[in-house]
């Protein structure tokens, strides 16, 4: 390493930019995967004088560009961390608070990782930098924090807490591993003579590419396991809850997130195998930004199932709220156990008009009629020959036509009327009318029966 440094000395002294060229030598290199080259403009242009405006332009702009590759992900992660941090005090259950804390820490650590990379890129190639210890720690803890975040994102209530061992174990294990390695393959003392043992091991850790990604590789498996279990469970819940709004589709982003995180690790690892490239660094930065923004957005918007577990209030709560699960607007009528018949059902629909509520579900209907979901569903299927959703939409469409025909609504915006009749948006409306049209055509062609309820 000393030799390498000497060889590069006069090269560096040519330019007193923050940025320097970094040629890849044949020997063992401390951080081979970070390419610290700058665009040609700044590398070749002579040192600019103050009064030469054009040179300042070029130099400043090029240096700015190359610096931004590192600074953008740092800024981005820090800002996302602040996003998650500001949300910590506005939580609905404890898992949510923990999730936000973890996401905030994860973003912060990503920022530390890139800040350390930046530091390495722009300081001389000293053997050991003070920033190396957080750098090494970020390598160890980023995958663990990611695993933890996924754990809370896929939290479905009845699980144990995230075990603290995940955080406590890696460092001692790695330290032991490093000591063993150092004992087995003793390295020349030359360039690490003045270092304390801790620093020496950190250096050893960082210089070994396979060691560095050891935790990442180790944590991919449990993350995949968690995700697959989550999907199996959501599919089951999905079937049970009769297409509730939290569909499987809305949690597909978790897979994208996971793929991104694997991509980040791969891109960070690739230079060891194929050599450095400026584009790899840029690609890595872009991936990091995309991942962090995606994660933060979904945490802010609560696009995960876990917050729903707030409903699982213990026995006391259930008793206290008897029949009023957090403000349902449609309540069971008095004659709870009367048998379900068509007349009563239609009277309920016509009088209460529950279909005006866009969130009205089969379970609400069943609750109002005092029967369970299956009975309700099969009743509608048997009596009207269609599923609940289509039945509701029929009522909504009818209401829409009535409202549109009403003289006072003549100059009404069809969109407003649409939302008044219980459609969530125009897309739902168009789909419902289109489907109805298709059904009608089919039945006319086929059995010539009117299927209107």
């Amino acid at each position: 390493m000393k030799v390498h440094k000497d060889r590069n000395v006069n090269f560096f002294s040519k330019s007193d930019y923050l940025v320097r060229h970094y040629t890849r030598p044949c020997g063992r290199e401390p951080y081979p995967e970070y390419d610290f080259t700058v665009p040609e403009a700044s590398g070749t242009s002579p040192q600019p004088r103050k009064n030469d405006t054009n040179a300042i332009d070029m130099g400043a702009y090029a240096t700015y560009g190359s610096l931004m590759v590192y600074i953008l992900p740092i800024c981005c992660s820090v800002i996302c961390s602040v996003f998650a941090l500001l949300l910590i005090w506005n939580y609905r259950n404890l898992a949510e608070r923990k999730l936000r804390r973890v996401v905030s820490l994860y973003c912060l650590l990503t920022a530390v990782w890139w800040a350390a990379t930046l530091w390495h890129a722009y300081t001389g190639d000293k053997v050991f930098l003070p920033v190396d210890i957080p750098f090494a720690l970020s390598f160890v803890y980023i995958p663990i924090l990611f695993f933890n975040a996924v754990y809370y994102l896929t939290y479905l209530g009845n699980k144990r807490n995230f075990s603290a061992l995940n955080y406590l174990l890696p460092v001692p294990v790695l330290a032991l591993l490093l000591m063993a390695l150092a004992a087995i393959f003793p390295r020349p003392e030359g360039n690490i003579a003045g270092l304390s043992p801790a620093e020496r091991y950190t250096l050893l850790f960082i210089t070994g590419p396979f060691l560095r990604f050891a935790t990442a590789a180790a944590y991919i498996v449990p993350t995949v396991l968690l995700l697959s279990r989550y999907y199996r469970q959501t599919v089951r819940q999905h079937v049970e809850a009769d297409r509730r709004s939290l569909s499987l589709q809305s949690s597909r982003w978790l897979i994208v997130l996971f793929v991104l995180s694997v991509a980040i690790l791969l891109i960070a690892f690739l230079p060891v195998a194929v050599g450095t490239s400026r584009w790899l660094v840029r690609l890595n930065a872009a991936c990091i930004m995309a991942q962090v923004i995606l994660l933060t957005y979904h945490v802010v918007r609560r696009q995960y199932l876990s917050y729903k577990t707030a409903d699982s209030f213990p026995v006391t709560g259930k008793k206290a709220g008897s029949g009023a699960p957090a403000g349902r607007q449609h309540h069971a009528p008095e004659e709870q156990y009367a048998p379900l018949n068509r007349k009563k059902f239609e009277a309920y629909i016509a009088q209460r008009k529950p279909y005006l509520n866009p969130d009205f579900k089969l379970t609400d209907m069943a609750e109002a009629m005092g029967v369970n979901r299956t009975v309700m569903s099969s009743f509608i299927n048997r009596t009207y020959g269609m599923n609940f959703r289509r039945y509701l939409n029929l009522w909504r469409i009818e209401e829409y036509h009535i409202l549109m025909a009403h003289p006072s609504k003549e100059r009404k915006d069809p969109r407003k009327v649409m939302s008044m009749t219980g459609f969530k948006d125009s897309r739902h409306f168009r789909r419902a009318t289109g489907l109805e049209h298709a059904y009608r055509n089919r039945s006319r062609k086929g059995t010539q029966t009117d299927r209107k309820p």
Partner: protein
């Protein structure tokens, strides 16, 4: 050189934060469901795009002066439109049920400024514009640009004032409409508006108008952009988590009912029975319109009724019920020797989060102390 580079980097932090917020709002706009939401999303996209343009102008000012001269019209027009669009967002959020269109006249002044700066950019030679921005030459161009900058600043101060007035008027109305203390306060919006005026507009005015001292401060520049970053984050966060309550307009049916006097008269007993048996207040988003629908009455009447009979507004009235529910659940938990976190109790009682519980509690406390 280093100083300029540092300044460029510092100014790109708000660009990044605005761009992140823009991405998030764009991601979110696919799921906006109703017309008001769509409008808010459109406004947010406009505001954040303008902010990205504005701050990247400042980056160019430091890192690429020539590009900045060419960019100047865009920079100015974004700077003049930002306050108007922020006011537009405030306007939508603080609508008191009238659903008026946003008057077009608010866009007149910024568009005039935009046209003027484009005319200058097209007619004046490059050297003159360079002199006006970077050197202290006094000529017609530089004075016009300075004057326009002052106008922009005045605009942003004026619109902040207007927004604050609107928020105040809204607050007076909302206490009779919603019982969600946390969401209806809109404190974050007033905070953003005030923050913008005090901490952001003034220092940047210093830079453009060429007050010498600012140049020598060096790294202190780093701190002048932090408020901007912070406001970007707070604005995006609150819009995304829907931290606002929009008053629904009075429906035609409701109006008809009020006019004909064809609504149910209320008695204390009936209201209390309704609240105690159905417990609608357990829903954090319970509004007076829900109550009016359930009691077959109208909202003006109910609001007046609660004011008269109980001597408090709707918000206080409902939150009292929630506080009582919290007490009941707590005593029940103690009685059964169950360990339930207080958070769970508070949320189950219909508060949207812990903070609104504390606020409701403090309100009651402040109320009772002077009475004793």
């Amino acid at each position: 050189m280093t100083q300029e580079l540092g300044r460029a980097i510092v100014f790109s932090v708000p660009v990044v934060s605005a761009a992140i917020s823009l991405t998030m709002v764009l991601l979110d706009s696919a799921r906006s469901s109703n017309a008001v939401n769509r409008k808010i999303h459109r406004c947010m996209i406009a505001v954040y795009s303008l902010m990205v343009l504005y701050w990247s102008g400042l980056v160019m000012h430091s890192a690429a002066p020539e590009a900045f001269i060419a960019y100047l019209p865009v920079f100015f027009s974004s700077f003049s439109f930002i306050p108007v669009f922020l006011y537009l967002i405030t306007y939508i959020l603080t609508d008191i049920g009238e659903r008026q269109r946003f008057p077009v006249r608010h866009f007149i002044v910024p568009s005039c400024l935009t046209v003027a700066i484009f005319v200058i950019a097209l007619t004046m030679p490059f050297e003159q514009r360079w002199n006006a921005i970077y050197d202290d030459g006094v000529n017609l161009t530089s004075t016009t640009i300075d004057a326009m900058f002052v106008v922009c600043l005045l605009l942003s101060i004026l619109y902040s004032g207007l927004s604050l007035l609107r928020i105040r008027a809204y607050k007076r109305r909302i206490i009779d409409y919603s019982a969600d203390i946390y969401r209806m306060s809109l404190d974050w919006l007033s905070f953003i508006i005030l923050f913008r005026v005090v901490l952001q507009t003034l220092p940047i005015a210093g830079l453009i108008l060429g007050i010498g001292q600012f140049g020598t401060l060096g790294f202190i520049w780093g701190f002048t952009t932090l408020p901007a970053v912070f406001t970007h984050i707070v604005l995006c966060l609150n819009i995304l988590s829907e931290n606002y309550v929009i008053i629904e307009p009075v429906a035609a049916k409701e109006k008809e009912m009020t006019a004909s006097g064809n609504y149910a008269q209320l008695g204390r007993q009936r209201v209390e029975k309704y609240l105690e048996s159905k417990k609608p207040y357990l829903n954090p988003e319970f509004k007076i319109t829900d109550m009016a629908r359930d009691l077959l009455s109208n909202r003006t009447y109910i609001s007046a009724f609660i004011n008269r009979e109980y001597g408090m507004n709707f918000n206080r009235f409902i939150n009292n019920y929630r506080l009582r529910e919290v007490e009941r659940l707590q005593s029940e938990a103690v009685h059964r020797k169950q360990k339930i976190s207080s958070l769970e109790i508070v949320i189950h009682a219909g508060f949207s989060n812990y903070r609104s519980y504390f606020r409701a509690k403090n309100m009651v406390k402040n109320d009772t102390v002077p009475a004793d």
